[in-house]
Amino acid sequence: MTLTGNFILDQTLTIILYGTIVVLFVSVNALFLVWAERKISARIQLRQGPLHVGFQGALQTIADAIKLISKELIWPRESDKFVFWLAPILVFAPVLSAFIIIPLSQHFVIRDLNVGFLFVFSLTNISFIGIFIAGWSSNSKYALLGSMRAVAQNISYEIPLLLSTMGIVMAAGSLRLTDIVAYQNKYWFICTQFPAFLIFITAALAEANRAPFDIPEAESELVAGFHTEYSGMRFALFFLGEYTAIFISSAIGASLFLGGWHGPFLPGPVWLLLKTYLLVFIVMWIRWTFPRLRSDQLMALAWKVLIPFAMFNILVTAILIYYQKFFI
């Protein structure tokens, strides 16, 4: 009895502790990412970006956040109130919980699941349900169109995203992220799996609704897409969700392809963060370079380019692994 009680208490405390850390990290990280994105885009566009609110505009996103918290929350007329309220939470919460499997170092991981990153992909899919019902419940045509696009996009891009990682899984022989990272202590998978890396980045961009794949919220077409009718903190949750999703995708990418915590001199977690931010920078760089794809071209890209290449990559990897075992 006491043992179980202690165990439960222990568990609860751990969850609360980790939860607090994760939520804090996510918020601060998202604020930082938004600021970084604004600065990076500004540099690319020959301007200064946030400058006057704090040093180099460092407090800009904090001001934005406080303002968004204090904004009026609007219920659109004839919206489905409960679902409308639920949607932002559904977008944000799963992305948050995806943090539990990111291995910061060999032993510093909240839950080392043996299904590994599959768990992340299945969680991020839940947020698409959130996006879908956000558009549905808003009772706005633009929002509905945006959410429809989001669903189509998600279904298509889930496949290349998973397929691109299969080569690594086959090579490392495990779905567990710690195993995969540990396998990379000699060389990173980006060296052997470069096409898969490109496919992964593309599909991850699409999964995170980032430009040039931001068709569900395509500003110039659908006003603001699925979150057209959301105001204040609810809108901020979508924003937070998007940036956290980028971070998660980049962290997974860094773990899978860039050797996770491996690196000289610095401790593992720092290396992972550095690699993650490098990937985040690439994602932002891509966003501020290209025009947006059309929805049908997006599908064509997934089905006609990414998936065949990913399949081919798996085939080649399989053959190589087979012969490696055969010869050595």
Binding site: A211, P212, A218, S220, L222, R292, R294, S295, D296
Partner: protein
Amino acid sequence: MVSTLVKTNIKDWLLETIKPEEFSEKNLKVAGILFEALVPQNKIAEVAREYFSQGYFLESITAVDFSECLEIVYHFNQWGPAKRSCIKILAPKNASGAPIATAPSITSIYKAADWFEREIFDMFGVVFQGHPHLKRILLPESSTIHPLLKSFKGEPKGSDVEQCLKLLKEDAETFEITYPQSIKQQNNHYYLNMGPQHPSTHGVLRLLLHLDGERVLDAEPVIGYSHRHHEKMMEIQNYLACWPNFGRLDYVGAMSYNFGYALLIEKAMGVVPPPRVEYIRVLTTELNRIASHLLWMGTFLLDLGGFTPFFYCFDDREKVLDILEAATGERLTYDYFRFGGVDHDIPQEMVPAIKKFIPAFKERLRDYDKLVTKNVIFEHRTKGLGLLSKENALAYGVTGPALRGSGIAMDLRRDEPYSIYPELDFNIPTRTDGDVYSRYVVRVKEMEESLKIIAQIIDKIPAGDFKSGKLPKNVPKGEYYSSVESTRGSFGIYLVSDGTLNPYRIRLRTPSFSNLNAIIDMLPGCLISDVIAVLGSTDIVLPEIDR
């Protein structure tokens, strides 16, 4: 094209077959037209058909209000060397008052006539018999006035708030029943209102899209959200006071509109501006053309989702504006030209500034080429989209880069030469595909051609006066038409002068009006994303359309 089989000269045909009630030949250089003819009302369809079969496009339809009748004026012109002719019909005023007058419609022959006739109905109250859906186009549908009639003496002071409150109330009441019932019942089909406030409608255009999923079945542009009564305003003030209007008509490429008005009044008054003025005018106009195309390019790419080129384009545009601002003192709504001259002489430092700008901009153009034009996503988004066939271009009277993208090298700087353009060496870039991509390429090439023109004349600006001396007091009685190649197409001004200090009627033939009309046939079959691209490629400026 149809025009290759020219049977007889249209003038001879008119004189033989139609036997116009009045006929007079004019000087193209002064009156802007070759001849004008007054034909009976019932013959206008026949005349229009003949014009159409000979490959003429309908430049404009307008009306002039006289005390006993309304004169409805059709301007036809041809691709290639200007052969503008003016056909008129009379619509006697109805004694009972409602409708004010009637006239036959030629919408079945020229698709462009649709909007022109609706505009006349809106502004003059002329009912066109045979028009499929005659309703107001610029004013709100509940409006009761026909403002361009001379009997309209303005509204009482302070009635604007009242009127707006009325509109607000109507808007609140008609919230639910905006769409036709018949279409609402069909499954899967729905209407989407794009605009008037939409990030990509370039101002306040409302596109009523009839959609099946994301595919457009039918599109109807609803305009008039930025109607600023330019034409009425010009009627009630003197010729000089019209200048600000021409700066604000198309605020992005205002200089060519200034040019048009200056040419018109100079023609009418018989003033020849000094040579220095001509050079300054061409120089500033071409710089303004670059600025306008840059703005278009930036916003067009913004519509396609490319944020960064927008900033580069605006950076370049700022550089052009710096040069223009030093001369004109304004950044976009130029009131720079004057009758027989320009407002200020260009400053000394303008020439070196331009010389510095040309190579820098050429380098930028190469960057745009790599960043945008050759980008695979951009190519996919624009190629084979929004096709404008030559037939449709003719029927809608499309002009400017939109037409040149369809393979017709029509440019009034060549076809109806004015100022010093005949002496300059420049090409008219064309593309044959008629899609969004070709319109884009044509505009980019046009910037290069403008640079070429600037480089040619920058060293040759002669010294001299920047204003001609004494001007005649007023414009002699008569009708004048002047046309220039603006950034968006051929811009025409039709002036009816009664010899007094202010114009009797000024009609502005704005290119975007016809160009926008043509997207009705370009949009069906597109996706919503393409709607933005097609709309962007027509390069419209709403206040110029709504006037």
